[in-house]
Symmetry: C2
Subunit: 261 residues, 2 copies
DNA sequence: GTTTAAATTTGATGTAGATCAATAAAAGAG
DNA sequence: CTCTTTTATTGATCTACATCAAATTTAAAC
């Protein structure tokens, strides 16, 4: 187990999110494990890594709830200081275009990265907002860069991480874009989020949907009314079941058929 | 000038594409220039780089014209051997999903990369097809990898290249996805391709459109009939002019307004 | 608990773009 | 050059989704 005592303590004080990701299933793994496979492995990670930092709505509970005090991990266009891996909870990634119109460009679940695509411009490409009480691992870029100059293996791992991310990014984009009908789009989305959460939620077909209808609709590029109608339709057709926030996919096969066609 | 004599010769024997990209404007630059800024710079590039390879429809002119003999640079799912930069011409990138439905996931213009996102899986994620008579620079991955083990600076440059690509990829995706109306989508697309070609075509508002209507429509996710109607509408509204393959954007401002809203 | 506000669902109607169908214009073949 | 095939444009209709509007549920505030 790679967690420090401090982190474990945090885990016991807050039980709302039982689904912490294993380090083994985390995309950050390439750069946050001690390098070298022998017994004399050096652990450089202390220089740049902080594990399980909480990012919660409660952090700012004393302040009035305005958009500016919402639980934002980092803001679009601000200078890159660290890249993050989600430990628990869900984040939404928002991007404003030149015209100032805000769009949700993605969601991040445990084991997934945020901010790593800012390494080029050294400014974040989107804002990351916590949906509920979340936690993240934080990798500070400056010391990471310094360490990777010294350790070729770390640098190699960083390349591996970046190429993997590039691939994942494209794959997720492809899962959504180019779907014609809204049915198709929604089916693809539901399958996508359940699959991405399968490893730590324990099931491929059950997921706690903390994302609001508004946010899902915005991400998919449809109206919330349309989304609502479709969810109802899917439920009537026994494709899914929605019980509060608990989403269950009842027929993976039928959903896949819908999503691919 | 960084081109070899051989390359320059090729340039004179084939005049159909006057718009070869400058190496200075090419995304491959980080890894295809001699490293070290001093006079004793070593040139490792001979080990893995071949400049200006032609990829043309004419290559296979003796064979019957079937889809299988079309000028494909590489095929989706085949093992990664090299990554490419476009020197001249236009490529379309096609991707088949699990259901076997083919989609155009992008176009590549001079100075842009192809196949670099295959470094993780070591298999190409899409097929690259030349539209007309094109040329590319070819970087063989195995020797590149070997060289980068020896030269930390090259490895650093490779990281830079990958992070830049990740950023560009996301930016281009964002330019297209999430646009509601087809007008908006088309305006964004026209601006995008003209901008990406501005440096080597010499103009931000003129572009030789070698891509077929079918391919554009497929990429944008609309029907060719709709595309046709929109192009006619744009022409009536004096937003663009189409003369054969010559596309001219008549009002960048109005197009931008259309694209952003 | 009650009250208020926000989020979600359901209903009625309008419109953008798909689909079907027919020309028209380019591009190849001989 | 003519003939054939492919690609692009224009027209008529149909449908999925957006939009406007109201009801209902859920969550937050007190």
């Amino acid at each position: 187990m790679t967690l420090s005592n401090k982190s474990t303590k945090k885990n016991t004080t807050q039980q709302k999110h039982p689904h912490y990701v294993d380090c083994d299933n985390c995309s950050m793994q390439a750069i946050c494990q001690p390098i070298g496979s022998d017994n004399q492995a050096i652990d450089l990670t202390n220089n740049y890594l902080t594990r399980r930092v909480e990012v919660s709505a409660e952090q700012s509970s004393l302040l009035p709830k305005t958009p500016s005090t919402c639980p934002t991990l980092f803001d679009q266009a601000s200078p890159l200081t660290a890249i993050f891996a989600v430990c628990s909870g869900t984040f939404k990634l928002c991007q404003k275009n030149d015209a100032g119109i805000e769009k949700i460009v993605g969601f991040r679940f445990p084991g997934e990265l945020m901010g790593e695509d800012a390494l080029f411009l050294e400014r974040y490409n989107y804002s990351a907002v916590a949906l509920g009480d979340n936690s993240v691992c934080e990798v500070f870029v400056e010391p990471l860069s310094a360490c990777s100059q010294l350790a070729p293996e770390l640098q190699q791992n960083l390349i591996q991480l970046l190429t993997k991310q590039s691939y994942e990014q494209q794959r997720n984009a492809h899962a959504i874009t180019g779907k014609k009908s809204a049915d198709c789009l929604l089916a693809a989305f539901l399958l996508n989020i359940c699959q991405r959460n399968a490893k730590h939620s324990g099931s491929e077909s059950v997921f706690e949907l903390t994302i609001s209808r508004q946010d899902i609709a915005c991400f998919l590029g449809i109206r919330r009314e349309t989304l609502s109608r479709l969810l109802s339709k899917f439920q009537h057709e026994q494709l899914i079941n929605l019980n509060g926030k608990q989403l269950t996919l009842l027929s993976l096969n039928q959903l896949k058929k819908l999503a691919n066609l």
